[in-house]
Symmetry: C2
Subunit: 562 residues, 2 copies
């Protein structure tokens, strides 16, 4: 408990900067040094794609703080353009290289905080004569990209490799700048954390925005001829964005002997402490604990970095006697996330069906397609919602929500419920704010809860779109309970159309054996299942109705939209 402890923080963006400013508010006397490899601290990394697209017009608005402003308000010693190249844990020192001069100095620490972030797993080599290849993670990156864009004449052509969050933001913003954009995706669809029938909505949007989408494809080389794909195609390009995955930037930590976890991230305890008690770590460089599996996981979100950075400051201050109460351990991570795709909000929390299935985790699946606010009030937009539920505990395992309005609200409510330990059925009981321009008297969240409750009480039984073929092979018949006019606009091949309103009177027309009932979104199907089961028939509802079935089956083939 020194009167003036010396804290060195490596990395000056989300987690590092939250630790620095919180620590100053708790300890006016600490010496706090922030070492940042880049030329900027506390910049708006989530805004970078939108600056490229011109949505954020001023470069200055990305720069939230400067070393000068942080010195004035928080008495921080911020050293940009400096890199920590080594840690001597025994001596409690770091080697700091001034990247302009190349000169190394050695700095002592009482506590060290590693906020080194993530780095691209690999980057395509820049070949002579080839289009510029850039990642999109730093101010330097966007300076390079905007320089390339400013040099273009006519309609430029961009290839984005990797349809994750940053990849999709790059696609949208390059299109917004007027470029013809191709998105190359290794997997079956963009946004691999989504299940295919949900990603299908994103694919439809990309199509309608004239994005050239190539799924189940990889880049084999980038040279003066263009971008070569493994299907033999070569794409002409003026700019290539490499938006493939990232990994924890943990090399300096590893070289100093700090323990890494199974994911490759720095292993920390609930106080963000590494295997060395004087060294903490935070942000994309560290492992989190997954809420569903309670296993180590990687979640690269700024919100977690900020919160965990604050925790580190609290722990250091508590150990210095400046806080009375032991700081609480970090709560598990859910991976709650959202990305905008041409005005469509695509949001998720927890685990997907795919991930649960791969892990052999029992799960119940619920799809719903309600509108974001009362249908009779102008401007209502359809939501595409999915809820994953543990059938034994009724706890929420995950959710996906997509829509042009109100999706961010619904994922946040579900994420809050999930983190608070509410059951899926309890979503029915949430008293949410309703007026016709903001929601419905039965909010979409309540609707998910009502469906979950029907499952938990055995009042309904459903089948998923990807289980339909097997059920039909086993003798089940598909009954389309929509109106005749809906049926005529398109339905499931081989289905029989009897409107739910005619079901009681036309019951004799139904085939023998199991009945798979469906409507457009699942609601009338539920009523039909209730009628049929009370009349002694074996019936299940096709979950999410025709919309979910159509979306899911559309993703079975590679997407090629040249």
């Amino acid at each position: 408990m020194s009167k003036s402890m010396r804290v060195i923080i490596v990395g000056g963006v989300a987690g590092g900067m939250s630790a620095a400013t919180r620590l100053r508010r708790l300890d006016e006397n600490a010496e706090i040094i922030v070492i940042e490899r880049g030329d900027y601290v506390s910049f708006a990394n989530c805004g970078l794609p939108y600056y490229v697209g011109g949505v954020i017009p001023e470069r200055e608005s990305l720069l939230l703080q400067t070393p000068q402003s942080l010195r004035a308000r928080f008495a921080l010693d911020v050293r940009v353009g400096h890199e920590v190249t080594a840690i001597d844990r025994e001596a409690q020192t770091v080697t700091v290289r001034d990247l302009r001069t190349g000169i190394d100095t050695v700095e002592h620490y009482d506590a060290l905080i590693l906020a080194t972030g993530a780095s691209s797993r690999e980057i395509y080599p820049q070949v002579d004569g080839a289009a510029p290849v850039a990642t999109l993670r730093t101010i330097d990156d966007v300076d390079r990209i905007t320089a390339a864009l400013d040099g273009l004449t006519g309609t430029g052509r961009a290839v984005v490799v990797g349809g994750g969050f940053i990849g999709l933001e790059a696609v949208e913003n390059l299109a917004h700048r007027g470029l013809a954009v191709t998105l190359v995706q290794h997997g079956a669809h963009p946004l691999s954390p989504l299940d295919p029938e949900m990603a299908s909505v994103v694919v439809d949007t990309l199509r309608s925005e004239d994005v050239d989408l190539r799924t189940r494809t990889t880049v084999t080389a980038i040279d003066a001829d263009g971008v070569h794909l493994d299907d033999g195609t070569t794409l002409a390009a003026d700019l290539v964005i490499d938006a493939r995955g990232v990994q924890p930037a943990a090399s300096v930590a590893a070289a100093s002997g700090l323990r890494l976890g199974p994911t490759g991230g720095i292993a920390v305890d609930g106080h963000q402490r590494t295997s060395d008690p004087r060294i903490f770590a935070v942000g994309d460089a560290v492992e989190k604990i997954d809420q569903v599996s309670e296993e180590p996981t990687l979640v690269t979100m700024a919100g977690l970095a900020n919160r965990h950075g604050r925790t580190i400051a609290d722990v250091i201050a508590w150990e210095s006697g400046l806080l009375d109460e032991r700081p609480q351990d970090a709560t598990p991570a859910t991976g709650t996330a959202i990305v905008g795709v041409f005005g469509l909000a695509v949001a998720m929390t927890g685990w997907s069906e795919k991930r649960l299935r791969d892990a052999g985790w029992p799960h119940r699946v619920i799809h719903a397609h309600p509108v974001d606010h009362a249908a009779y009030y102008p401007g209502a937009e359809r939501l595409t919602m999915k809820l994953l539920v543990d059938p034994d505990t009724d706890l929420i395992l995950g959710a996906q929500v997509i829509g042009r309005a109100g999706a961010d609200k619904r994922i946040d409510v579900i994420a809050t419920a999930m983190q608070a330990g509410l059951t899926a059925s309890q979503l029915a009981r949430l008293e949410l704010a309703y007026a016709p321009q903001y929601g419905s008297a039965k909010d979409p969240i309540n609707m998910l809860g009502y469906i979950a409750d029907n499952h938990a009480s055995g009042t309904t039984d459903s089948i998923q779109w990807h289980e339909l073929d097997a059920a039909r092979d086993a003798g089940a018949s598909v009954i389309d309970v929509r109106s005749a006019s809906e049926y005529e606009r398109g339905g499931i091949p081989g289905s029989l159309n009897i409107s739910v309103d005619d079901l009681r009177s036309r019951i004799a027309e139904l085939p023998e054996g199991e009945l798979i009932v469906h409507c457009q979104v699942g609601q009338r199907g539920h009523t039909a299942v209730r009628i049929l089961r009370q009349l002694g028939r074996d019936a299940r509802n096709l979950d999410g109705g025709y919309l979910t079935w159509r979306a899911g089956t559309a993703m079975r083939e590679p997407v090629l939209t040249p």
Copy 2:
């Protein structure tokens, strides 16, 4: 347990219709009769003001179901234009009057569900030659109002009496129709569930929309000369909307000897059962249990009515052996609500500071003014937020959120957290979906949690705007830690301006005694308090900063905006 039980439901809108359709899905054999006094069932009562304003252009879109559509899908016997005038509980019968013919019939029930709603407490008498005086609760009301509006020539003048939810929606929509609108409010400000410094934001919006607002005023008479106020003013009017409060429509229930509660609503148990085991009640006619006080309360929200209607159906089906599990008791009500006021969303849940103070309930108050999404992304709108916290348990007692974007999301997340029993500090740990167009890496919700955590841990101490004068009388000095240019644009009279960034170097200039520190919204004030307290000074942060102080003090005088 009859094979075909006879269920009579009195009232065919939210709660009654939810009970009817749910019961049919659970019991194909029940005879379900819905008696509705009006000519319409299941109409969009929350949409009525917007139809008056022309925002909802088609009258048909208000009519969600018809007796015919409900017969086809749910085999319901819906009788509109019929009123239940008496209940004979001994005989298990109701007297039903056909309102067109005046003929009474007597109908037997096995179970009776009262969903009679609310009615206006009193209505101004319609005097010869006076402008039409209307409430705004039924299709008949809007037909009457639109007929009056269609007959107007030139700019019409409307007077709305009562600034509750429907009153404000009436004001907005009549203005939208081109009328000059006066709002007469008995209390100090519209929306009495809000605290004054929050209502101040609503008042500013009404002012900017040229609404003539008269607070602390009542109507003494409405006659051919106009609307007479108790301050001697007479307002010319072509239309008067009486939007004063409602009360439970419980007269038939009371006449039959059913127990009413202390609020005047029908008393029910957790299964919505009245004091007669064969009679249930739901919706605005019944009492709820308040989540904060656990006492009976009135909350007139459609969402609760729908959910409780479903519960009644579950209970009836369970008693018939059609559901295995005993339905869960109703959860307490929080009064979560939202209203749109000229594009401003005004949302609340739980108790206000005023209500807590009046009840002598210990409480901690937190104000914050964050923007709804990352400030560097275009279109960010300021939120005005207030959180009420139990200082002993850290549980959330209530919240108010106002803003042009993102307010509905934030109130729903807080309401969910409150209903799930999260503490205020736990809001800091919520992992919410972040991208720059949807939120912030430290979401406004997280910010409230961080402030709450600072209070719980003793890291900060604050003072409310209405406590400032007393503190100054006791010798405290006000230090404005904003920049000089902010200070020049307006501050608290008698305050001393020293920017937070200069505080360390200018510490000697501070007066002796307690220091009340403030900035614009409270954040820099917190940093300043931390500096001052570590330097040995007695300092508190003016909660919510200058914005909250200015809003609160502005509501101390009657509002008159002629």
